[in-house]
């Protein structure tokens, strides 16, 4: 694993402390924060309608193209069915943190196509060490964990659709989502080898 994710893990504790201090100073609930954000967004639209409007279709088209390319990349890196809605959120988060995202996606996709890859194992080792490989690891990380990093201030892309839960969906509950009816969850243990299809 490259330095990008490693750095996330290494300074996790320090960031937690910082976040804790920030929360102490500004205790605002998530709901209030969302309401506040929505109000700010409405205000932004009202103030910026005339200059921003003509550019909006182009921006939307650009966003769709980015999402489509990101889903193409994701489907090469992950051998499972993926949600476009979750992908759009991860792509948005990735774009914010990786200015050279488009070029890295092109590079990785080109390697996969050159190898005529059907699954990630066909080409992943061919991605050269460096930013593109770190980005590929990050994309996988985001899909499996549903977050941008292990840090407390991570962006949340999804909870219940994080792929980690799919690897154990034949047995383990996604916490807070009911598994079965009242007292109907008795079951024999299952072997590790029976990986669920997802």
């Amino acid at each position: 694993m490259g330095g990008f994710l490693q750095a996330h893990f290494d300074d996790e504790n320090a960031t937690r402390r910082q976040l804790s201090e920030a929360k102490m100073k500004l205790p605002v609930s998530r709901r209030r924060l969302l309401i506040g954000s929505a109000a700010m967004a409405v205000g932004y639209v009202a103030l910026s309608t005339s200059p921003a409007f003509p550019a909006a279709p182009a921006a939307a088209a650009s966003g769709e193209a980015l999402n489509a390319k990101f889903m193409r990349l994701s489907n090469l890196l992950i051998n499972h069915r993926l949600s476009p809605a979750v992908g759009a959120r991860i792509a948005e988060g990735a774009a914010a943190d990786h200015k050279d995202m488009a070029a890295m996606m092109d590079q990785i996709i080109a390697i996969a196509e050159q190898k005529q890859a059907r699954v990630v194992e066909d080409f992943f080792e061919d991605i050269p060490a460096g930013p593109a490989k770190e980005f590929a690891h990050w994309v996988i990380f985001a899909w499996y964990s549903g977050v941008s990093s292990p840090k407390p201030d991570a962006k949340v892309f999804t909870f219940e659709e994080a792929l980690t839960f799919q690897t154990t969906s034949d047995v383990v509950t996604i916490p807070s989502y009911g598994l079965s009816g009242p007292n109907l969850w008795s079951q024999a243990t299952v072997p590790l080898s029976q990986m669920p299809r997802f």
Partner: protein
């Protein structure tokens, strides 16, 4: 300052103790006003907070329950008020509790082990700690009432009940099914001579109860049951209001006022605008949590009570106790599979009893049944695997790791003490300061008893790796700060949890417990609450 006097009994705190007492009083025709320091929040909002939290933060309860500025509660190292508790001493009394309407049962596991008769006679039987001021048979009917009030499920087979003695009534509901991991764990420890029995727990089993639905295995009892199948005091608030209770949220009581006869005359609270209000009443119940109650008593010192309210004995805030716990995280060859059913569903209790208690603490062992994805996902991803190998590694680590927890009893010690810090909170009120040392009684147990048993269990599970927590963690079972006793010179409350010093002040709950045993404290707190309620009704009706 506004004086309000609209209830005969003023209850401070809307957790399980306050709620149980309030309802008994209302049913007896006594008017009740409840003051809650924190906000009143819907279950949906708490569930939403949990689901929207980053995966790495889901174990931090403050994410689901962000503290209000005026009612900070401790949140642990990753929470929003990690320095609310000012901690000192060899061990860290790092607790979490919730200052919301409904209190800390919002995020309890629902585990409801009773004390045993022996647990209440440590001094007589083993020469350590304190005896309770009454015996188990005195508490037994109140346990039964509490179990029916909260809705406790448990086994009908006497061999699987705790304590192993005839019950006055069966549990109102049967036990819940085990997960594959719990089933396998039970088989393994049986071969070692230990009985892993279904925990008696406040969770609706196979049927609705108390207008709440049956558990359907959401595996999220901690931090919040999304459907209310687990009892929490918040589920009772609407019913109390329908019976006539007035509940004031965001009302931070900061002073208890006495009169010339040294009876309690009123309490004063601050609202979120920092405006002060005075509430008078005939009788007062402070059930504001095992830390907040002694803090409030110490904050309220006056000329008649220079050490604080109810503190002629100088025992308020002393004897702080919990269940110091050590966790063995084991990696196994075969899959165990946690995360099916409630998060705590069984335990080995017999290891809490024995003549060894003259030398060291007993311990209770439990197999944690939390879904383990959130504990292992980052570690699996850190290995840099992709594709099928990554899927298999996450699945293996989820299935083949488990937490075995050894929870110890602790003895009351006056130096384990809560005092008032010179640091203040958002309202300018002193933060609690707690000095804590689990003591040699606990450390000796870990050395010669609990960890050897834990390692033996781990080996029998086929563990290929065992990681033991380096320090004692707290179980968030706050006990002892207003300790009960027959002698007013070395205890704070009498056998009804009435203050020795003020006959119209009751301090029920975990603070009154004279011994901790090893099992979770809430059902004993609930039993004490009902016993207090009977005494209060009797007193209010003029019989005292």
């Amino acid at each position: 300052m506004v004086t309000k006097n609209n209830a005969e009994v003023v209850v401070i705190g809307t957790g399980v103790v306050g709620v149980l007492i309030a309802e008994q009083l209302l049913d007896a025709g006594i008017s009740v006003l409840m003051l809650e320091a924190g906000p009143r929040v819907s279950r949906a909002e708490i569930v939403e907070n949990f689901r929207n939290a980053p995966l790495g933060l889901k174990g931090d309860t403050s994410v689901s329950y962000p503290p209000a500025p005026w009612a900070p509660h401790p949140t642990g190292p990753t929470g929003g008020a990690h320095d609310y508790l000012q901690l000192s001493g060899p061990d860290s009394y790092a607790q979490t509790y919730i200052r919301y309407a409904g209190g800390s049962t919002w995020h309890w596991a629902g585990t409801s082990w009773r004390l045993t008769p022996e647990d209440m006679r440590l001094k007589s039987l083993y020469g350590v700690g304190r005896d309770w001021a009454f015996d188990y048979d005195t508490l037994d009917p109140f346990y039964t009432r509490a179990e029916y009030k909260l809705g406790i499920c448990g086994p009908s087979n006497p061999e699987q009940q705790w304590p192993r003695r005839a019950r006055l009534k069966p549990y109102p509901m049967p036990p819940l099914p085990f997960s594959p991991g719990e089933t396998r764990f039970t088989q393994i420890v049986k071969e070692l001579g230990y009985n892993n029995i279904p925990v008696s727990q406040a969770r609706n089993s196979g049927m609705p109860y108390d207008d709440r639905p049956a558990c359907c295995a959401n595996n999220n009892c901690v931090p919040v049951c999304p459907v209310g199948a687990k009892y929490d005091a918040a589920t009772a608030l609407g019913r109390l209001e329908a019976k006539g209770a007035k509940i004031l949220a965001d009302a931070v009581v900061y002073k208890v006022e006495t009169n010339g006869q040294n009876r309690i005359e009123a309490v004063h609270y601050l609202d979120p605008n920092k405006q002060s209000h005075r509430v008078a009443g005939k009788l007062f119940v402070i059930a504001a949590n095992g830390l907040e109650t002694p803090k409030l008593l110490l904050m309220s010192k006056d000329d008649r009570n220079p050490n604080g309210i109810a503190n002629r004995s100088d025992q308020v805030g002393r004897n702080m106790m919990d269940h110091p716990q050590l966790t063995l995280t084991v990696t196994t060859k075969e899959p165990f599979w946690s995360g099916v059913g409630p998060v705590v569903n069984s335990g080995i209790m017999e290891t809490s009893q024995g003549a060894f208690r003259s030398e060291h603490a007993g311990a209770y062992f439990r197999y944690n049944n939390f879904a383990r994805n959130r504990f292992v996902t980052f570690a699996a991803l850190k290995k840099g695997l992709v594709g099928k190998a990554l899927d298999e590694e996450i699945r293996r680590m989820t299935a083949c790791t488990a937490d075995i927890v050894a929870a110890h009893e602790i003895l009351p010690h006056p130096d384990n003490r809560l005092t008032l810090s010179d640091k203040t909170d958002w309202l300018g009120l002193p933060k609690p300061s707690i000095h804590y040392d689990v003591g040699d009684y606990v450390r000796r147990s870990a050395e010669v008893y609990s960890l050897p048993i834990g390692k033996k269990i781990a080996a029998a599970m086929g563990a290929t790796d065992v990681k033991i927590s380096p320090k004692f963690a707290q179980s968030k079972h706050i006990m002892g700060g207003t300790i009960m006793g027959a002698d007013a010179m070395n205890s704070v409350v009498d056998t009804d949890c009435r203050s020795h010093d003020h006959d119209n002040l009751f301090l029920p709950g975990g603070g009154a417990m004279a011994s901790t045993a090893c099992g979770n404290s809430t059902i004993t707190m609930a039993a004490l609450a009902l016993r207090s309620a009977d005494a209060i009704v009797s007193q209010m009706k003029g019989a005292h």
